[in-house]
Amino acid sequence: MNLFIKESGLICLLALFLSLLTWSIHPGTPSYYKVELEDGEILLTIALQSTDPVIWIDARSKENFELDHIPGAILLNEDNWEYLLAEFMEKWNPDLKVIVYCDSLLCRASKNVAQRLQDELQLNNIYTLYGGWETWTIEKK
């Protein structure tokens, strides 16, 4: 019993020390406060392991979309709403989970597009990607 206490104590101490070390030098340290998601926001990690089929909507500019986008994503922005909406509707079906993204945490385009989809089409399975395109590029590195 004594031996167990000594050995496990050593293991825990070592783990604690290494944890502290890793935490201080690791470039990918998570935030200190809980990521508070707003209504309809979804984390990329959660989205990627979703069991429902997902359709990605890119709410950024056409130029940015053409440079690079999430594979399979459809462009839908407010610059050319009517026409792009029609294109989106062709590809949409009710089983799909719709996730809209724009540049990063700072942009509002994804929320605007998501809101408009909800208002005009009465869709409910709509989310916006927390962290946007930026989070995707980090994740896919």
Partner: protein, 215 residues
């Protein structure tokens, strides 16, 4: 005497104040139907004691561009930033934020808001007519309510799938239209687009798309 002047020389930079005075931080713009863009000028003056250089100007949206004559302003110099917001097909209250970073350590960051309300041209009940698997194939309606004061006509009504039967009724002349869409009686999956063309605004008439689907 010498010591006092030396002290003053050494510490005088701390006494100098920077101050970029901006005329308006929030600028509301007017919009009339048909406008493709909204331009706003934010005037400023360097009210401080030393020159200030603008390091960067960014806007919250790619649809808003900014331009500045030059980047460095001497004390007393005036200048202006022009912001151009390309409306695209946006509707409702738009607030675009422009952030300016300067090299002035006292006030390195300024934010402006360009605000404009884009009234909707039409209030439409839905863009999607969707008959679910177990839903009966009753006709559904699209209601288009034009908001502007002048009369607006629907000039064309087309569908990409002829098996959907259309019937349009001008309930209120130049204002309210109701389109009845009949999916027919055949219980097979199909979909199509509905195109509604109008004559307003004159230089760039609005076209509305609708999607029809039978599951």
């Amino acid at each position: 005497m010498k010591i006092i002047s030396l002290v003053l020389i050494i510490f005088s930079p701390l006494l100098l104040q920077g101050q970029m005075q901006f005329q308006e931080i929030e600028n509301q713009a007017n919009y009339k139907f048909g406008d493709k863009e909204v331009r706003r000028i934010f005037k400023f003056k360097n009210d401080g004691d030393y020159p200030v250089t603008f390091n960067s100007i960014t806007s919250s949206c790619g649809c808003t561009t900014t331009s500045l004559d030059k980047t460095t302003y001497l004390p007393g110099e005036k200048g202006e930033i022009e912001a151009i917001f390309t409306i695209g097909q946006r509707e409702g209250l738009q607030r675009k934020k422009i952030t300016v970073l300067t090299d002035d350590s006292d006030n390195s960051r300024y934010e402006f808001i360009l605000e404009v309300n884009i009234p909707k041209i039409a209030e439409i009940n839905t863009r999607l007519l969707y008959w679910k698997k177990d839903e009966s194939l009753d006709p559904k309606t699209i209601t288009i309510d034009f908001q502007p004061n002048e009369p607006i006509k629907i000039t064309d009504l087309k569908t990409s799938n002829d098996s959907f039967n259309l019937d349009m009724d001008e309930v209120l002349t130049g204002k309210k239209y109701i389109i009845l869409v009949d999916p027919g009686t055949a219980r097979n999956s199909k979909n199509g687009n509905l195109l509604v063309k109008t004559d307003f605004p004159k230089d760039n008439p609005k076209i509305y798309f609708f999607h029809l689907r039978v599951q």
